[in-house]
């Protein structure tokens, strides 16, 4: 009888690596010898953690790690009133390194970096699962560390870190210790704030572009991390893991700096003295979507005073025009739409046509705006799908106007 592996191969199973060595004990380069951590006893077995303290005022790039602004702007954004009463010492910054990036039950959080403010210092603990058999202690230690906290700050934690950790607790039959916590996922906020300006909103990108921090060569790209852990489990050699600890520490520190930065902007956006007009535009949209129209109008005006790229400039004119229209201030709207129309903005043409047709019953002017719009969309470079969309709408308007004009 051929071996199982040969039988599977003859059935076309692509087995890949074969006959990998069994896990080994590597004493000279064990975790304990390579990393500067300590064993933490828990009621469910041992855990292992590397802890570091950062003094008050320590900066990640140009942004200090502290809570220097009131959090009401953030509280508005996440619609969570409890955050207004939360002190900085109750906030935990959390980031996990896992054995898989796609998630699912069989994915372990082998390194959990979590930081909180403790007196004057920022206390970072990195809980490391030396072996999957140690997971109960690993999770119990995290639970103890999180005990004083009632809020979590993560980057994509709503979709990734928190459900993954919750599954780990549930697998062992325990209640996850953070289900009632306030959760600030900075990824979502970062997307809203910097979508207009930055092509990528990953944490390392924000670190570089927003915080002005640069990682050293010690860093490792996220996609390599699971394999480094698998290699460690096989070889027992913990040295390559140092880069994973560095990566994780940087992530947690950046979370703290990023919360400080964004809470500052949201606390008083009009006086945040933002360098980039795109950011002003983004914050204006954030307030428009949140229903604070007065703030949005002021911010859009502030954006128009800066240097916006053409598409954002035109969009700002159009949005501002619509906000004024909602308030019944048509003269302000008309001026903005006419300005936008000069930039061939179709939506503004339509708004003008509507205004002349329905409010002033000036069908000639409405016809002129409609025809101008039809001419613009017929130009060769115009986007095909947008043309199809506008074509139907504009032609309907055109025939109605012609009917009204010529009976």
């Amino acid at each position: 009888m051929p071996s199982l592996s040969d039988r599977l191969k003859s059935l076309g199973v692509k087995v890949g690596a074969q006959n990998l060595p069994s896990p080994q004990v590597n004493r000279p380069f064990s975790v304990e010898n390579v990393l500067d951590g300590k064993v933490i006893p828990t009621h469910l077995g041992e855990a292992y953690a590397v802890e570091s303290l950062f003094p008050n005022g320590y900066a990640q790039g140009s942004v200090p790690i502290q809570i220097s602004h009131p959090l009401h702007g953030i509280a508005d954004w996440i619609q969570e009133d409890r955050l207004r009463e939360t002190s900085s010492t109750q906030i935990a910054f959390l980031d996990t390194e896992t054995t898989g990036l796609s998630g699912g039950t069989g994915t372990y959080a082998f390194l959990i970096g979590v930081g909180r403010f403790d007196g004057d210092e920022f206390h970072l603990a990195q809980f490391f699962m030396r072996d999957p058999a140690e997971e109960t202690g690993h999770l119990a230690a995290l639970e103890e560390f999180l005990a004083p906290c009632s809020a979590l700050v993560t980057f994509n934690g709503k979709a990734f870190d928190v459900p993954l950790l919750a599954t780990r607790y549930l697998t062992h039959g325990w209640r996850p210790p953070f289900m009632e916590h306030i959760h600030i996922d900075l990824l979502h906020l970062a997307r809203r704030l910097w979508r207009a300006r930055l092509p990528s909103r990953t944490l390392p990108n924000l670190e570089y572009n927003i915080l002005g921090a640069l990682r050293t060569e010690q860093d490792v790209p996220g996609w390599m991390i699971p394999q480094l852990y698998f290699d460690y489990l096989r070889s027992g050699d913990a040295r390559p893991l140092k880069s994973v600890f560095y990566h994780n520490a940087m992530d947690v520190l950046s979370l703290a700096a990023l919360l400080n930065h964004t809470s500052g902007i949201l606390a008083d956006p009009l006086h945040a003295r933002l360098e980039h007009a795109e950011d002003v535009y983004s914050i204006a949209r954030l307030h428009e979507d949140g229903g604070d129209l007065q703030m949005a109008i002021q911010l859009y005006h502030q954006g128009l005073e800066g240097t916006l790229p053409e598409d954002k400039f035109v969009e700002t004119l159009q949005r501002l025009g619509r906000l004024y229209k909602r308030q019944g201030d048509f003269s302000a709207s008309i001026a903005l739409w006419e300005q936008a129309a000069q930039h061939n903005h179709i939506d503004s043409h339509v708004e003008l046509a509507k205004y002349f047709e329905h409010h002033l019953r000036d069908y000639e002017s409405a016809l002129t705006w409609t025809q101008r719009a039809l001419k613009i969309i017929a130009e060769p470079g115009f986007n095909l799908y947008e043309r199809r969309y506008w074509q139907a709408e504009l032609e309907r308007r055109l025939s109605r106007l012609l009917r009204k004009l010529h009976g």
Partner: protein, 421 residues
Amino acid sequence: MINPDNLLILLDHLRCSAFELPFKKDDRFGRLPAEQLAEFLQFLQDSGSLHHSGDQYFWMADQYPAQSISLRSASADQFILQAMHDDVPETVGQIDRASAFWMVHPGAVYIHEAQTYLVDQLDLDHNIATLSPIDTDYYTEPRQESTVSLVEKFEEMDVQGATKAYGDIRLVNQVVGFKRLRWYTHELLGYGEVTLPPTELVTTGYWVSLNEETVDSLRDQGLWRGDPNAYGRNWLRQRDQARLRDRYTCQICGAVESDRAHDVHHKIPFRSFRDERGNIDTNLANRLDNLITLCQTCHKRAETAVRVRSGLAGLAFTLRHLTPLYLMCDARDLGVHSDPQSPLASKRPVIVIYDQIPAGIGFSQRLFELHDEIMAHALNLISGCGCEDGCPSCVGPGGEFGAGGKQETLAILKALVAYNM
């Protein structure tokens, strides 16, 4: 019906289970023996998916194993079907590797969501079949050549007139060409050639091998078609005369003989000249106007068009359509192969029915158990059929000039069924 112990299905199940919860030392899995489970866990550890620590096996791979399981077939090796619309490819579907060779070979007509496509290219390196949406008045049917060999016999038992067995077999299959057939009338419009590497399928099969006694009795009745033809004493002369008359040129494609003598083909099959006593008038059968010179390729085609259906082939046809009813499966889930001199049973005549699924999913064992019932049913079906000599409802249709093989098939079944009903 699914056999949960099919190696491929089992491997994927174990991967998914290990992903959900670590295996512990004395864990069981279905009806899998403990030592075999241990062998699988070791395999998964050796290939880097599991980490053994303490008495547990932890999933340690950056994979989501359920994702690599295909619900359409046991193997996850998929080809994508790309239809070209104005040079822009659009993926219209997927097909597993084994099916790709015979369903989307170059030149095949493939039907997907009521649209007919012509296959332009089958890229075996990148698992892509390129199709063009096109309206055709024909469909295609692949021509395949298969050989079967034994891997391991699980069980064998002597039965009435034969021996039944089941076990692992290796099927080497090659798509060598295809027929173009007109829609609705099934009129043969022509042939196409295909150059594709052979594919190998290791699966489980059930086979019946006729014993010496049965074959002898069929021979005595003049109903055995498995022996090589003896064309009679005048054959060599007549053959050479036919080639000379046809100027050593294939009368279909016009190819002239080069390093190999062309074949000479009986327009009306030689076997059809058999009289009631089983004797053949060779002067009549081998007369020059019944002979035609054909190159080897054209000859093969002519043979498939004018088929003299042997009893073995007739029985294979019947079983192909009968067995799915017992197994509650699709006819395409099974493959049927007949061979008058099979390597499965020391050159004895064999009919083998196999699972069209790598490693098999349990059909073969079931057929082995149902042998008597199925043969009796087949005999009943054919003897009760009102056709003269073969039709699609029993042993399959005979060719235009061919013989249907109904009588021959019945003779085999009578030898295989203990109590004729």
